[in-house]
């Protein structure tokens, strides 16, 4: 089991017409293996930049990130990705999408078949192996994306607004699935979202991030994810504790928004 570590990560973009954007400044954290960290914040707070640095798609301007002590310098199979949408391969059916990772590593289709069947059952898509991607609803497509990511048995799963494109009802169902997978597999998860409720519900740890410069404004240790599977989701989300936390985080974000607006004279 490997810890995910960020040390003083700073990301500065040079603008083509001069000037700089401080997408991230001095972000440090240590995420113990098996935890679910949600990154919440308004647009421009650097949450997706941070996720892309953890994935190895971006190299930070300064600072370092490491998984289990090994520095992250590029994409790697030990860090699986789930994107919002459009990252599945439409030219492959569900089974071939899910088996893509193992097959890139030289495994034969027949070899991977039992694993794929298991994963499809896990994500609730039993019998959908030979369906085309375009035949599936948005929620089912994200189930395939989860299964595809799990097929390589990564240590960490990185999710970039995985439920952002789904309707409210499907979204609630999928939140349950993400929690189930997290509990069952014991993998670490980092999940970016702009939904306060989702960040509180899924995260057993949560960073509220702020823009200009992008930074971690406040850290939370949360109790909800650990009991979520034993309680009705709506019941939990309507509980006084949950509502209190939600309002606290919302007012924090509103204050940040107002500061920015005041800053710009808008």
């Amino acid at each position: 089991m490997k810890d995910l570590k960020a040390e003083d990560v700073t990301m500065v973009y040079e603008l083509p017409r001069g000037g700089e954007v401080h997408a991230l400044e001095h972000v440090s954290f240590d995420l113990e293996a098996g935890r679910l960290l949600t990154l919440l914040g308004p647009s421009g707070c650097g949450k997706t930049t941070l996720l892309n640095i953890l994935a190895g798609f971006l190299a930070p301007t300064s600072g370092r990130v490491a998984l289990g002590g090994d520095p992250i310098t590029g994409p790697g199979q030990e860090r699986g990705m789930v994107f919002q949408q459009g990252a599945l391969f439409e030219w492959l059916n569900v089974e071939d999408n899910v088996s893509f990772g193992p097959r890139m590593n030289g495994k034969k289709k027949q070899e991977v078949h039992p694993l794929v069947e298991d994963l499809l059952v896990t994500v609730g898509l039993r019998g959908f192996g030979d369906k085309h991607i375009y035949e599936l609803s948005g929620g089912m497509q994200q189930r395939v994306a989860l299964a595809r990511c799990l097929a390589n048995d990564p240590d960490v799963i990185l999710m970039d607004e995985p439920l952002g494109a789904l309707d409210a009802l499907t979204r609630e169902k999928m939140q349950g699935l993400i929690l189930e997978l997290w509990k069952e597999t014991g993998k670490s998860v980092v999940l970016v979202t702009h939904s306060v409720e989702e960040a509180l519900y899924l995260g057993d740890r949560m960073f509220v991030m702020a823009p200009r410069p992008g930074r971690v404004e406040r850290e939370y240790e949360l109790p909800f994810a650990n009991v979520a599977l034993e309680v009705e989701p709506r019941e939990l989300k309507a509980s006084p504790e949950f509502i209190e936390k939600r309002e606290e985080v919302l007012s924090l974000i509103w204050d940040m928004e107002e500061q920015i607006m005041g800053h710009e004279g808008g």
Binding site: A55, F57, G74, P75, G76, Q77, R79, G80, M81, F83, Q84, G86, A87, L88, F89, E90, W91, F100, G101, M104, N105, V123, G124, L125, R126, F128, H132, I133, Y134, E135, L136, S137, G139, M140, R143, R148, C149, A151, N152, T170, K173, G176, L177
Partner: protein, 304 residues
């Protein structure tokens, strides 16, 4: 948990296939197909416009009637030295079918033309697609190839025909090389456009799943670009077909264009019209075949 969603997804698919299959048997006579029948806003709903087979049939009948009309009067609107009757054209076709034209069979003329188009398209695609990929994947190669491609692309292939005849002689080689020239720029640009359509998330996902650069190229970039490459092939096929027949007028002695041109000094209007009709029908057949292949090979097109 998936059942609810799964059910929904399947239901949508079923509705789609139902509306499609129900169009086929009775579509000829229906005013609108079932899914659109209840729409009150019709004009401007461009996505719902389909080609109605009955009306296609009707326009063909009108064309045949017009042809008959210009030959029906006494004297007819167009005399036999300007335009043949339907009967004369049919007779000429049968004669060409049996005896060929000036010792060359109709099949030889037709297959010569088809084989030139096939060769031109083959080499145009085999050379053009890798160049287009290179331009789509590397800023340096993009810069390098941009100049020649932009300079050569606007040249009408037929403007080069005299040069090609000088360089490659009269015959197949000139015609095929001209067709490569006609198709290659279309294929380069189609492949380049196809590479550009790749969603960065797909590439990143593939890297995270352990794909190498070569696997990204073959398993992600190439299949992702197939719809654009296919469109390129269809466009290039149309351009090639048009270029070929013109090229054959002067460049060769065998081929449908050559046959039409050879019939002129003998005032064989009927032979010329038969040649023109064969060219038209083959053009349509090639496009139908391409559409069929497209539906078979890239069913995800337009549904991502």
């Amino acid at each position: 948990m998936a059942e609810g969603e799964g059910g929904q997804g399947l239901a949508t698919i079923q509705i789609e296939t139902e509306s499609r299959s129900s169009v086929n048997p009775f579509g000829l006579f229906r005013r609108t197909d079932s899914a659109d029948a209840r729409k009150t806003v019709r004009f401007g709903d461009a996505a719902a416009v389909r080609s109605k087979p009955l009306w296609s049939l009707l326009s063909l009948v009108i064309l045949m009637v017009l042809w008959w009309a210009v030959k029906a009067g006494d004297p007819p609107l167009l005399n036999d030295r300007t335009f043949p009757t339907q009967q004369a054209t049919w007779d000429a076709f049968i004669e060409l079918w049996r005896n060929g034209f000036r010792n060359i069979s109709l099949w030889e003329h037709t297959s010569a033309s088809l084989s030139r188009v096939a060769q031109g398209m083959f080499w145009g695609t085999v050379i053009g697609v890798p160049i287009g990929f290179a331009m789509g994947l590397s800023s340096r190669l993009r810069g390098m190839f941009d100049t020649p491609v932009e300079l050569l692309r606007p040249i009408p292939p037929l403007a080069l025909l005299p040069l090609f005849i000088l360089w490659f002689g009269i015959g197949d080689r000139s015609a095929v090389n001209l067709l490569i020239f006609a198709s290659i720029w279309i294929m380069i640009i189609a492949a380049r456009a196809g590479v550009r359509t790749v969603n960065l998330s797909k590439v990143r996902a593939a890297y995270s799943l352990g794909a190498s650069k070569a696997q990204i190229l073959w398993r992600v970039i190439l299949p992702n670009a197939l719809p654009e490459i296919f469109t390129g092939i269809r466009v290039a096929l149309g351009v090639s077909w048009g270029t070929l027949v013109a090229a054959e007028l002067v460049g060769t002695s065998v081929g449908l264009g050559a046959m039409i041109f050879a019939a002129r000094p003998f005032f064989r209007i009927d032979v010329m019209i038969v040649g023109v009709i064969i060219i038209a029908v083959l053009g349509v057949l090639m496009d139908v075949a391409m559409r069929y292949l497209e539906a078979k090979l890239i069913p995800w097109r337009g549904r991502g």
